[in-house]
Amino acid sequence: MIPAAFEYHAPTSLAEATALLARLGEDAKVLSGGQSLIPLMKLRLASPPHVVDINGIPGLTGISETDDVLRIGALTRESDLEESALVRQRYPLLYETSRVIADPLVRNLATVGGNLAHADPANDHPATMLALDAEVVAAGPRGQRRIPIGSFFTGPFATALAPDEILVEVRVPVARPRSGGAYVKLERKVGDFATAAVAAQLALSPGGAVEQVGIGLTNVGLTPIKATAAEASLRGRRADDAAIREAARLAAGAAEPVEDLRGSVEYKRDLVRVLTTRALRRALARAQGGQ
């Protein structure tokens, strides 16, 4: 399969890249890892006249932790996230997500920023970042701004980014004491999109009640879904079996799946219930100091 012809641009600075995007408008697509864009171009589902490759822009990769935030450069490869000792030890939800995105070869090119900016509701990082209450940093010709992840996904394959903006960084609140997370995904085979997946993040008070909770759902709606009613049901309570069951029921209610080859609406909705239960139990065990 051969993509339609396009003009290739390889800017070497953010200013150059955003000026290009401002000039080219909707005719341009940003190329980061290319693992979603290139397949779409080969299928001619996308035929952008201009492709702006941002891989030559310095400073967009790397993972670092400060007192209050974990910063992930937008061009950080999924395999770098997976191999980061910091992520593995302190951010189990991110680590587990990075392990189940596509396959190991795709993860060598696919980027964290691309996974978000592509805004495919079947992508895995969106639900994870919703559960973690992350922010993304957008750079445009007029400077940078932060966008809370909760207002980033505006529709299927649509985001709050302006056509001349580039996602340059993801900011995850630093892991708190007594916190833990888990990502539980059901896929038919390695490399397939999720039939459904659930990201859960919990932080407990010294007394053991749920102080902070995030639950994100993958591929059961037109956008990634934050299961807010399920979160609210847990907040301030002990996450015992009954509370987890109730939250899982509410998460299933928040799902808006459609029937496809991966299953019926009823099946997927119940799958969300089961996966939410598992994700919350695993997150809780980790918040309590287990693995």
Binding site: L31, G34, K42, D53, P104, L105, N108, V190, G191
Partner: protein, 153 residues
């Protein structure tokens, strides 16, 4: 567009259309046909090559993205007429049946053993999970990687 890249240690320069996929450049411009095109949809891994040491699916990379980088294809494994121990172990363990997936399996296995010289069976199965063998010959592929790991110790 002008591209310059190193392939199996040799420098190459060419004029390419931006839309030329890396696998087509390797096979049709450089005539290195060891790299296969399987599914052409980023699933099967038959087209795996190493780009700056990392295995990637060359059907999902534009040649222009590889400019300035170093590539290794399956032809780069053999040195001075001697097969790489991984190639030897694919022979001795019958790690191939039809052979279509083999170049990709070799490149993924080669990069993996450099990073993880003492892998468990699970590690190997995880590492090759982006390479499909339609003959389902995975048992012997895993054995071949294990044997190569032992030989390379």
């Amino acid at each position: 567009m002008r591209v310059q890249l190193t392939v199996n240690g040799e420098k190459h320069e060419a004029d390419v259309e931006p839309r030329l996929l890396l696998v087509h450049f390797v096979r049709e411009v450089l005539r290195l046909t060891g790299t296969h095109i399987g599914c052409d949809t980023t699933h099967c891994g038959a087209c795996t090559v190493l780009m700056d040491g990392r295995p990637v699916k060359s059907c999902t990379v534009f040649t222009v993205q590889a400019s300035g980088k170093s590539l290794m294809t399956v032809e780069g494994l053999e040195q001075d007429g001697t097969l790489h121990p991984l190639q030897e172990s694919f022979m001795s363990e019958h790690g191939l049946q039809c052979g279509y997936c083999t170049p990709g399996m070799l490149m993924t296995g080669y990069a993996f053993l450099q990073k993880n010289p003492k892998p468990t069976e699970d590690d190997i199965r995880w590492a090759i999970s982006g390479n499909l063998c339609r003959c389902t010959g995975y048992v012997n592929i895993v054995k071949a990687v294990q044997r190569a790991a032992a030989t390379l110790q």
